[in-house]
Amino acid sequence: MTLSVRIIPCLDVTDGRVVKGVNFTNLIDAGDPVEMAALYGNEGADELTFLDISASSSGRETTLDIVRRTAEQVFIPLTVGGGIRSVEDVDRLLRAGADKISINTSAIARPELIAEIADRFGSQVLVLSVDARRARTESGFEVTTHGGRESTAIDALTWVERACALGVGEILLNSMDADGTRAGYDIGMISAVRAVSTVPLIASGGAGDLADFAAALDAGADALLAASVFHFGIHRIGDVKRYLSANNYPIRTVTT
């Protein structure tokens, strides 16, 4: 009896559509987040993440509808992030059917938001998304905003420790240096964050080869998030799971 490693595909969604193109031929509409969520669920995804990158409030309303429709037909955990600024935003998403929400910029701007959400809904719903890169801060890692374009000068490890004390239930660590490169996760960053936290850690950014997934687990990640390698069909979720299983990592097999 062992807790399985979680494989989590992430879908960037704006105005009701998946942003990055998807290279699957068996989809009727590759831009429909609900259909993609169902497909990944059938393929053995252990959780799903929607990142809402809508700029408008109407876009956010559409996301609520997508969350609703997904929760009605995909019976695995769903995390939603992007644009969450208040306890009310969280309440709306949870009521629509999200199981967890992730916050990033709004928590940097106002860290008390972490405690407010954790007190109301419990830590287990709250994922802290950290966009970090290598820089000359105390630990060598700093927190960025705006997809890595803007520095906050906040030390990433200090931020993680503070957020854990305030009540986050899980950390999603995105390497801004590795993101999109498919050159591997930032292993040093994963081990550094693992060393200062006792909540589950999701590694994100840089997944390319199958061996990259195993390396992130060795560094201390509990779960692995990836976008483009799945969307472009470079690896199917089953490929990653078969590889990990063959290398003795605990995975959940899905009977079809």
């Binding site: 955990p77 809904f121 779960a223």
Partner: protein, 200 residues
């Protein structure tokens, strides 16, 4: 008809849909009489033990559960909805455990594990001849919790491990409970829900 007890725990939509896949009608209700009369009652739960009990007490939930047991009507607790069926919970209790519904004795306490919450898919050592796990004994189920019951109780016990051994399910005649979320456990979870619905 299955009633899902709504006592302020937020996301019940996916639970409603998941239980509807059993083929039975499902309603979400906070009405004590409806909850008492339903063929099957599901007690979900998120958040902390004390907050959950507070919400339950506000709709007289503990007495609904006890009355159903006396009337031989099945009830299924999920996650914190399982934990509150025990006598006590020591989550954020500062040494003075909170009272639960008390169907089963014992105290729900924090798991001794390096990483908490216990979050993700884990396997279950299912009780042999368990009606709930029939056909899904080897499957994984989705857990999210930091506290658990650790002492055997009820007729049938199923166990899982995270740092230490804990009760992942209890089947005790008309009251059953799972520490994991069947409504979030994919096909295996839906199969377990179907198994429970057959006992109604």
């Amino acid at each position: 008809m299955i009633a899902i007890l709504d006592y302020g725990s937020g996301n019940l939509r996916s639970a409603e849909r998941a239980f509807a896949t059993s083929g039975l009608d499902v309603i979400v209700t906070s009405d004590p009489q409806t909850a008492f009369e339903a063929q099957g009652l599901v007690v979900p739960g998120v958040g902390a033990f004390a907050a959950c009990m507070q919400g339950l007490n506000a709709i007289d939930g503990a007495s609904i559960i006890r009355k159903r047991l006396a009337a031989e009507r099945p009830t299924l607790g999920i996650c914190i909805g399982m934990q509150i069926l025990f006598a006590f919970g020591d989550e954020h209790s500062q040494g003075q455990p909170h009272s639960g519904v008390g169907i089963w004795p014992g105290t729900v306490s924090k798991l001794a594990a390096p990483i908490l919450p216990h979050m993700g898919w884990n396997t279950v050592q299912a009780s042999s001849h368990s009606p709930l796990f029939n056909g899904v004994e080897e499957e994984s189920f989705y857990f999210v919790h930091s506290y658990a019951a650790k002492d055997a109780c009820g007729k049938l016990q199923s166990w899982s491990t995270h740092g230490e051994l804990f009760l992942s399910a209890v089947e005790d005649g008309y009251v059953s409970a799972t520490q994991f979320h069947p409504e979030k456990s994919g096909r295996a979870g839906l199969a377990l829900i179907k198994n429970w619905s057959r006992t109604l």
